[in-house]
Symmetry: C2
Subunit: 318 residues, 2 copies
């Protein structure tokens, strides 16, 4: 949660002259997103979301993210649609930083997911994959397996400090899940579809957003991320009913191949390792006594314990 | 800027069942207000602002603030109007903390004030004072002159550290402005009407808010606060044109008495001292390297220098 760029009324007015959105009527800095500055703005023509991209999102990646959401919005998939400037661009400049205005989505994020919501997100994920079939741009997954060891290995001592015996387990995980992608159907994926990146209205998905990890990778990896993010209860027990609902929802739109089913335990373990890796790095980078607490890496260490014991897709409800 | 209470979708739904506002459609944590948690919410019936009162606002003061804004809203003064619950109350409970839902105001705050805006805020301030003439509740000014010495004296060494010679000057200020209230017309005042507590639409005041320092005190003290907050340029030069505009705007609605005019330099000096006092205390309380930088007390030390040299109301544009 942060607003790094403290946009003034004059800057907002100047920015809006580059769009056909009318004059500004309101602006609120949003306490959401750790990496970008986000503003809810209202103009004569409606409500929009303004993001100013701070350091972590690479400027060169923005055209991919923007084209992907435009592609989905054009196919009636509920994503924030980038608003074109008068000159046709979707990326503006605010104090030398890239910025984008997108449409406003209604809905609420689920804090504790329900079985119905797990089913709905499965349906939405498969629908998104289908609608992205003819999306031709590609972007490598910067947080794929190659990235995990460089993030984790220099911090193994910290992992061991957080939980005795964890370092050895993680080293084994790293060795085992390295080739989880091979031979699986690939395409554009979200790669970070956590409950706080989706909106619901009456248990129907009304928004999917935060595509800043979107990339070209195994479609089933997106399911593996969702199984980790949506189907564990507090205390890290896997809720098989939620897993069944999510996978059944997905398969009501797109059937999994046999290879994808077989790969599911490795994919789920890999997904858990990916979030463990970045959380461990964030944990290491956060000074003691910092105001903003980083997310706990041990949540994913716990989930990894479940994945290590999983034998087949049946363990996830497939 | 902060969201201390991280409201869940379920908590919002439960809260809204106590109101006649329909079901929730959206919720955004707002990066604004250092002391409370603020959310922009949208329901079937419109947009509202939800505040959860964290530690600094005393629960016992809330009825005064709520009644004051209700009083103003009922008289078409643009303030956020508290929304009544089904049981008639305006103060709800969220996790044991008091909370209130108020109407949403459109408009933008001025970062750099214009002369027109200074005139408009003067008009709004006098209009507010007039509309509060028949408001009967009272609340002592907890940050009146009695509060300044206890805030400043234990931190005089810090003041001296911030600027050589400042400690002695501030001690003299404290001794001189102690009786600035006596004999002046009093009433309910805002007491903290900074540019970020007002909205404009096309240079007309469209909102006045953040009444959490509102109290019963000298009406002209509200003008003195505004002169400090609206009419100084960066580098702390007083902009006489802005001062003239603000006071002329005020007097177009309510004429200042001779006593108020005479008291203006002392009031302005007192107001500057009040903000110096709380900023000095916040500065002292902030650990080195903290993420959120406190506001600079020296801004008000600079303004005090101007006020010390002021001879009469003419120095402020009256």
């Amino acid at each position: 949660m942060a607003v790094y760029t403290d946009l003034t009324d004059e800057e907002l007015r100047a920015l809006l002259t580059q769009y056909d959105l009318g004059r500004p009527r309101a602006m609120k800095g949003i306490a959401e997103g750790v990496e970008n500055s986000n503003f809810l703005i209202e103009t004569d023509t409606g409500r929009y979301f303004l993001t100013i991209y701070e350091k972590r999102v690479a400027r060169t990646d923005l055209p991919f993210f923007m084209a992907l959401t435009e592609h989905l919005a054009a196919r009636d998939f509920p994503v924030p649609r980038p608003v074109k400037m008068k000159n046709g661009d979707v990326i503006a400049d605010v104090r030398g930083k890239p910025a984008a205005i997108v449409t406003f989505l209604t809905g609420l994020s689920a804090r504790r997911t329900t079985v119905q919501q797990c089913r709905a997100i499965g349906v939405a994920l498969a629908t998104m994959h289908e609608k992205l079939e003819d999306f031709t741009m590609t972007r490598p997954n910067a947080l794929g397996p190659e990235a995990w060891a460089p993030l984790i290995m220099p911090r193994l001592a910290l992992a061991e400090e957080l939980r005795q015996g964890l370092a050895t387990q993680i080293e084994i995980d790293l060795a085992l899940v390295a080739d989880w992608r091979s031979g699986l159907p690939t395409g554009a994926i979200h790669a970070d579809l956590f409950p706080d990146n989706a909106f619901f209205m009456n248990d129907v998905v009304s928004g999917v957003f935060d595509f800043y990890f979107a990339c070209t990778d195994a479609l089933a990896y997106d399911i593996a991320v969702c199984l980790n993010a949506w189907c564990f209860e507090q205390g890290s027990a896997f809720n098989l009913t939620k897993g069944q609902a999510l996978i059944a929802g997905y398969e009501s739109v797109r059937r999994l191949t046999d290879e994808e089913r077989r790969a599911l335990p490795a994919l789920a373990r890999g997904a858990a390792l990916r979030f463990f890796a970045t959380r461990l790095a964030d944990w290491a980078a956060t000074p003691e006594g910092a105001l903003v607490k980083p997310k706990d890496p041990l949540e994913y260490a716990d989930k990894l314990e479940f994945h290590r014991r999983a034998i087949g897709a049946g363990d996830y409800g497939a």
